[in-house]
Amino acid sequence: MELRIDCALVADMRRLAREIANPIEDFIAAHGTVSVERAALRLLGVDGVGHGDVPLPNLVVERFGCERLGSGVVRPLGALVAETGRTPDDVAGAVGDGSLDVALADGVPETAARAALENYVARALARIDARRQERAALLGRLPQSPPPLLYVIVASGNIYEDRTAAIAAAEAGAQIIAVIRSTGQSLLDFVPYGATTEGFGGTYATQENFRIMREALDAVSERLGRYVMLTNYASGLCMPEIATMAALERLDMLLNDSMYGILFRDINMQRTFIDQHFSRMLNTRSGIIINTGEDNYLTTADAVEQASAVLASQFINEAFAHGAGMPDEQIGLGDAYEIDPSLENGFLFAVAQAQLARQCFPAAPLKYMPPTKHMTGDVFKGHLIDAMFNLTSVMTKQTIHLCGMMTEGIHTPFLGDRALALENARYVMSTARHFGDEISFKEDGIVERRAAAVLRDAHALLERVAERGLMASIEAKTFADVSRTPEGGRGFEGVFERAPDYWNPFEEALMPLASAAP
């Protein structure tokens, strides 16, 4: 079911996206953020909460960071580890509660500080690698059903109800479970701690919640004889820390977009670019597939008009992912079936867009999001729109398939809603399993003309952005019709210029991968 598309144009879009990413990557290389520092601390084993329930990584960054954030917080920590002979976690606790004088670090020689952490760094990387191997072994022993991989969310706001729901969903055919986090967590500049039983429209992403879910899903995977994946959000002000927690708890995927936070959460753009780069290096190492957020262009504006923005964003996301060393196999680029159900031939448009993505990114595990915006209280109609989405997905060989819920317009999914949604996907994808292989499109018909138009517009968009620069383009409302300034938005105060002696051992360790990138 190949569309005849202009391959030269596609190649040029890839070139333009790289051109767009280059100056941002230079900027990233010269800057740091508090959240990357906190992620490094977590990797070194710093965990738990201190006074006032503030997470230790935050307390440590606050203490160390007041003067010399530009050099990073790892060196002073290492110095104290060298000085005291205690573990980084211990040291952090003591720094956090003020029982250890941070000034002690000052005299410790660079080499001693580095040496003191060597083992901890190695252990962190080994743990990540072990998790990755664990996953590979499980996938080998408990193979998944072939894609589209059916993905559902759980969102009760209570991790234990979510666990019940996740197990039930897996049994009903789900292959990926996303635990939705509470509204607004992305705007918190810390990661909550422990198991949580509250939240709006989801509960918090915490390391303990990750562990609870992973354990439950591992058990159900064994029972079902197929590995069930777990995903959450590496997004918002704590993006790199969540990527860390996910690496340690063997999540399999993470929502992670290079611009989503900027555009849709008004998070500072510098912060976001830096954070996503580190997160992606880490995700690359942990073998976590990222899911980008192009669907968000479609839920807030007209899906027919925004089609080219989606494609352009996919190329940008790909460029940044490549820049972080990520192979195509881990880049789950997003799209969504958000076309107005009352539009004549809307299905043809959706097929055109989905197939276009499939052909532009042949090796990417494309993520296809369900209808949400046009879902109303009419659950019967909603179920049908989801069916057409399911059909589009199987026809165009999408990889990660978020199942639409007939109750999308009403409430976060009930246990029964999920079962019906999975049944919908399974039925449509089976009855039309090889339909996509069977057909080809009329030359220059509605579908091909639509694909060509989207391609052309997206190319033009990338050209404009390349010319103006990404930051300036975002300021000029190029994406999602919002303007964000380089110094505006949340979390800007957490961005710093790197001092010449900035040191982050994990960045060092992960970098080679990045330079080996395509």
């Binding site: 969102a155 009760s156 209570n158 109800e161 729901a165 109303t376 209280g377 009419d378 659950v379 019967f380 109750t407 317009g409 009403i410 409430h411 976060t412 999914p413 009930f414 246990l415 029964g416």
Partner: protein, 246 residues
């Protein structure tokens, strides 16, 4: 012990139920409110009219989500399935040879005016249903398929004339309670003729349950999804019990 269960939305005991219905009202905000009040009056709380819309002149359709305060005690519910005895064709034939010692004579029909033979055929015909062979295939059964629209009288006469051990009656049309009426008539006629205890009496159809069948005075009832071996196993076991009792 008792285990009270309530509908489960996304949290234990939230009692969430989805309803849909049509009201003979032109759509307006007041019609939505009428739907809300109606569902509240049924005893539901947290009534959310998710959808209300005109579907024709003077008619509106509603989708409602609400919570019910009602719970049932799952432990107190006894609805033994007639499908309890899982055996294969060969096992059943062997069982009959050993424990009954003779052929079992079975007659089946769609009774009353019902002409939906696919269901009873699925049970009786050689080829069976869902990969499970029909009763005609069993060596130890002698099977008669009387077909459709067989009056209760004709079926009882046939049973008498042919020394039938097990009578299988099917009803697919349930409109206006016609299934219950016909099933009852059959049971009553067998009683009246004094041969009720001579046959294993079985009811079947998409709305049949074993519970309902026993309430109607049948030995067993089989509903949707029944496969022939379910029925064969039941008949064989019940026959063996009868033989043992004699």
């Amino acid at each position: 012990m008792s285990t009270y269960v309530k509908p489960y939305g996304d949290t234990k005991d939230d009692g969430k139920v989805q309803l849909s219905f049509t009201l003979p009202l032109e759509w307006s905000e007041a019609a939505d409110e009428a739907a809300r009040q109606l569902v509240a009056k049924m005893g539901f709380s947290d009534v959310a009219v998710a959808e209300g819309r005109r579907i024709a002149h003077g008619f509106s359709f509603f989708v409602v989500y609400a919570s019910t305060p009602v719970a049932v005690d799952a432990d107190s519910i006894v609805a033994p399935s007639a499908k309890a005895h899982a055996m294969s064709l060969d096992e059943i034939d062997a069982f009959v040879r050993e424990r009954v010692g003779r052929n079992i004579r079975i007659a089946g029909a769609c009774i009353g005016t019902d002409a939906h033979t696919v269901g009873i055929d699925a049970i009786l015909n050689m080829k069976g249903y869902k990969g499970d062979y029909g009763l005609e295939r069993y060596k130890e059964f002698v099977t008669f398929n009387l077909g459709s629209q067989i009056s209760v009288e004709a079926l009882v006469d046939f049973a008498k004339d042919n020394r039938i051990d097990a009578l299988l009656a099917s009803q697919v049309v349930t409109q206006k309670g016609s299934d219950v009426t016909n099933f009852t008539a059959l049971a009553e006629l067998l009683e009246a003729e004094g041969i009720r205890d001579d046959v294993i009496l079985i009811a079947g159809g998409p709305r049949m349950t074993n519970l309902l069948a026993t309430e109607l005075g049948y030995d067993a009832g089989f509903g949707r999804g029944t496969v022939p071996s379910d029925v064969a196993a039941f008949v064989a076991t019940r026959m063996a019990e009868r033989i043992a009792r004699m």
